[in-house]
């Protein structure tokens, strides 16, 4: 299922993701903040995620490690800034491979008819940080058309 939507707001250096889950809000909230369950969803399937620290309270720290088959290790950490059950968590995110570049994730949960809409607003310190964190392949297709331009502009300007 791919019901996520992503909206990038270039001027504010934010990215907003939303996703609807067929589950009550309490359950989504508890699941997302359960250290024992983090390894089951937080990382990509091809990597093993280990929770080293997860102190879910304002000012509490978290640190996760991910290992690939070749034994390479990637570490992520952050701090909880706000933990307000059942609908709001604000935490920071840092990839230790690119230290010092901290993003802030604002998670909001809304329940409607037994379904929960999860909204994650990620605020990056700069565009450079986004790329450093993601280490994404920039080998995007070199083709461009006016149609794609129009589509993308509509997407990023939230039309």
């Amino acid at each position: 299922m791919s019901s996520s939507t992503l909206v990038a707001e270039p001027g504010t250096q934010e990215i907003v993701m939303t996703r609807v889950f067929d589950a009550p809000r309490d359950l989504v909230f508890r699941t997302m903040l359960d250290p024992q369950l983090i390894p089951k969803w937080w990382g990509p399937r091809r990597l093993a995620t280990v929770v080293e620290t997860m102190d879910v309270r304002p000012g509490g720290k978290w640190r996760y490690l991910q290992k690939d088959e070749a034994g390479n290790e990637f570490a992520f950490n952050g701090e909880y800034r706000e933990v307000s059950p059942p609908d709001r968590v604000v935490s920071t995110f840092e990839f230790e491979g690119v230290p010092g570049h901290i993003a802030v994730d604002n998670v909001t949960l809304e329940e409607h008819d037994g379904q929960t809409t999860l909204t994650i607003r990620t605020v990056f310190a700069s565009v450079e940080d986004r790329d450093g964190m993601l280490n994404s392949g920039m080998e995007g297709g070199a083709t461009e058309s006016h149609d794609r331009l129009a589509e993308l502009l509509a997407e990023i300007s939230g039309k």
Binding site: M1, S2, S4, L6, A8, P10, G11, Q13, I15, M17, R19, F21, D22, A23, P24, D26, L27, V28, R30, T31, M32, L37, K40, W41, W42, G43, P44, R45, L118, I120, S126, V127, E128, R130, D131, G132, L134, S136, G137, M138, E139, G140, G141, A142, T143, E144, S145, H146, R148, L149, A150, L152, L153, I156, S157
Partner: protein
Amino acid sequence: MVQYQSLDRTFSALSDPTRRVILDRLGRGPASISDLAEPLDMTLTGMKKHVRILEDAHFVTTEKVGRTRVCRLGPAQHEGLPSGGREPLGELEAWMESFRQMWEERLDRLDDLLQDIKHQSPDNRHDS
């Protein structure tokens, strides 16, 4: 690092609503600086500045024709560009796609997990 700088330029070029209007307009065909400035009620100098930023980010190319400067969308003029010539929206799109995929996988897994938990405990265990 070069990639980051160029992506940075891409985002900041697009961050301004006026520049998005300019791109939208140029998507319908070339226009002079004054063609662009008029509907927006802008000075020619102000418009030149915006066009310059879009030019630096490789969205737009300009060409002097007689006394006017004709602006058009850049990338479409460079089909068959050598591989070194990256197009700004290609990069932006690739970056957004990789971010989307990361979250997509994470949230797919969370979804699976929530369904498992729900099935294990039909009353959704409001305690815990």
